[in-house]
Homo-oligomer: 236 residues x 4
């Protein structure tokens, strides 16, 4: 299978992409040779991601369904603004690590979302820094500030000491806010699901009683049957 | 049925209304002829919405119940401030598109709320811009800023770089905040419902056991009955 | 019963208290005679609330339990800062109105919390205005601003264009924030409960099958019994 | 058992640690002798916590499992930044108080989280004050401001009138925001669990019907058996 075999190589490509994407943003003093190299790696990674998408599309038996289910994959490849989202592949990797760890459903949901949140905050900080740095009056001008802003946004705290002013920066912020609402929803839902379950377990005793009654019924019917059989044997 | 037949025409009217409402706000330099035309379309749309309300009221068999259940419809027609809410009819349209798509309950809830949220943010941005533009010291003075403010408000982030200062603008903001809380609630609840369900599915095996036991009981009773019938036949 | 008979009179006292509490805050230009009257009404209302607490304590059969269960009642009477909370009695009144309306549990929870939220926002705005007005550099200096601040706080938006600076004002703010978190929790939980229920209803068909099987079992046993009775009658 | 016997002494050590940690922060004018004493108590408490960790590690039968399950304990001891978290031991104490009070699961969750929240807010205010005081342009310069900031952060309101500017202060803020999201999740989930349960109780009548039918079945089988026995006796 293409997808299985390409999982690890593409994750490696995603890590390289992350490095090539982050380096020129974190090192504004980087020389032009370094910048060109990062650009080349970024484009190569893009090519490999696009190739992977095309191969998977060609190999899929139900093509319209594949297109419908992988809309995000296509957008991530086509839109330059969504470039940092290509790193979500690294979250997909948690899937693999996880398969061996054999966690329960709730545990897996938590691991996914913590991983995705950390990656989203990191990439959003990089992307917003890239978008805001050329603007004179911007408040976000170095990576610690960008990271701090990303965290206050995803948690919906929003102090307002730093905020993006460019259009691209604001689009990234909207994405972060949506992610923040989803994050809050997942945390709450996971805990609610755990609590509902625990409370039900305490009340499960009454259901066990019902089950015991059914077992009792079965036993009585068996005895009844034996008695009938005995009475028949006597009749003969 | 009036309601069924008027669904599509009234949606068309709502789209026209949206255009006539948004145009003079987005184009402050619009000439007086254009403004008059937009005004005329807005009033015509209002007339059609009011007519639709009256016809539905006259046709309903239980009039007090209709009045109670359509309070919002009446408010939207009577109060000029709630004008943008007339566009919620467009969300009602999702209902139609959806009927064909045959989504599950949770899917429908998600589609509704995403549609409603996008429409609410867009209309609130228009309405707040209309309310704030005449004020000298207002921070919200163009559409991108208004949209940015609406998103930071509905997600309850609230940076505070832009905020309404007029009474009307603040009322719109309160509506957006309430919508934001509802949005957060819906996201969380939908995910919680999905998670609770998935966890229950895993535990459903124990219930299947109970059902198997009942099937076993039924089978034994049938056999018992056959034995009794046989014993009776022998008696004859 | 004291409690039943005093319900309506004490609600009237609470309304009077609200008027006497709000008037001097909303009308800073109120003369000293008006202020004295408001003060008198406030103290009389306090006396009646205290009397009601004492009578209920004396009449209760299990006094330690009454003290434990009505800690908030006592605090509201003893602490001058919690004065506005005496108006929560008005929310308790929703209870009465509701009893006749015969709403379902979820409906009642919603009615309570909407009523409580509106009252809390209104009282917090009054209380914060009283606390902040004497301070020179305070941002909250009139009632519309106080109301606007209260709404941005309870929804956890927190623009930061207005915020309390006095100790009392900040304490009121903390109360509002806690109320806001509770409000968000109630909205989400109510919707989650509704959604979980609706999804379960769809899946309830499989449980109905089980119930139908039990009915089938009962019918078969009845027939079996009739057959046995007939066989006995024939034997005679 | 070491753990049982050391519970109360270590809680006493935690209280001492809290005093020695808070005193020099709350009293910036404290003389050098007082500072040295506080330093000594802090280090002694650290020594005892480290000793407790080592003893528990040595006594545990499954050492790798102990290491995995007590990662936070180790971090709290090793990282100087996490010093205030040592006070979480005081929350663990609620466990003991609670065991006697015999609360239900939901009640216990509420008590834990209220206790933990108050302690986290208090310690975060202390820690942020310690981190921000040396910085010239910081907005958090006294304990009431620090406490106010901590509350606006954990509730995700985030006015932005005060915010940390140092790296350490921002790290503490991130911790508070995460705690705030968890808090919101717990409040919502607890209420949702209660509401789901209450709604189910109302619908439990239909399940009681099923149980009554099973009882009816049992009774009929017993009668059937008696009739069979009687018929057998007559046969003899």
């Amino acid at each position: 299978m293409w997808e299985k075999r390409m999982e690890w190589p593409l994750t490696g490509v995603a890590v390289l992409f992350l490095g090539a994407y982050a380096w020129p943003i974190l090192q504004p003093s980087l020389g032009s040779t370094g910048r060109v190299w990062c650009e080349v790696v970024t484009w190569l990674a893009w090519g490999l991601f696009a190739l992977d998408y095309v191969v998977r599309l060609v190999q899929s038996p139900d093509k319209p369904r594949f297109l419908r289910r992988h809309v995000l994959d296509l957008l991530v490849i086509v839109l330059p603004l969504l470039r940092p989202l290509r790193l979500l592949r690294l979250v997909a990797m948690l899937n693999v690590l996880n398969r061996t760890a054999a966690l329960a459903l709730r545990g897996r949901v938590v691991v996914y979302f913590v991983g995705a949140t950390v990656l989203i905050v990191f990439c959003a900080a990089l992307a917003v820094l890239e978008a805001e740095r050329p603007i004179e009056e911007a408040g976000i001008r170095n990576f610690p500030d960008a990271l701090w802003w990303a965290v206050t946004t995803i948690t919906t705290v929003g102090y307002g000491d730093r905020y993006p002013v460019s259009g691209t920066g604001r689009l990234i912020a909207v994405g972060l806010m949506v992610a923040g609402i989803a994050l809050l929803g997942v945390v709450t839902a996971t805990f609610a699901s755990w609590l509902v379950r625990r409370v039900e377990e305490v009340e499960a005793t009454s259901q066990t009683v019902t089950r015991a009654q059914i077992a009792e019924l079965s036993r009585e019917i068996a005895e009844l049957r034996a008695a009938l059989a005995a009475s028949e044997r006597k009749d003969l």
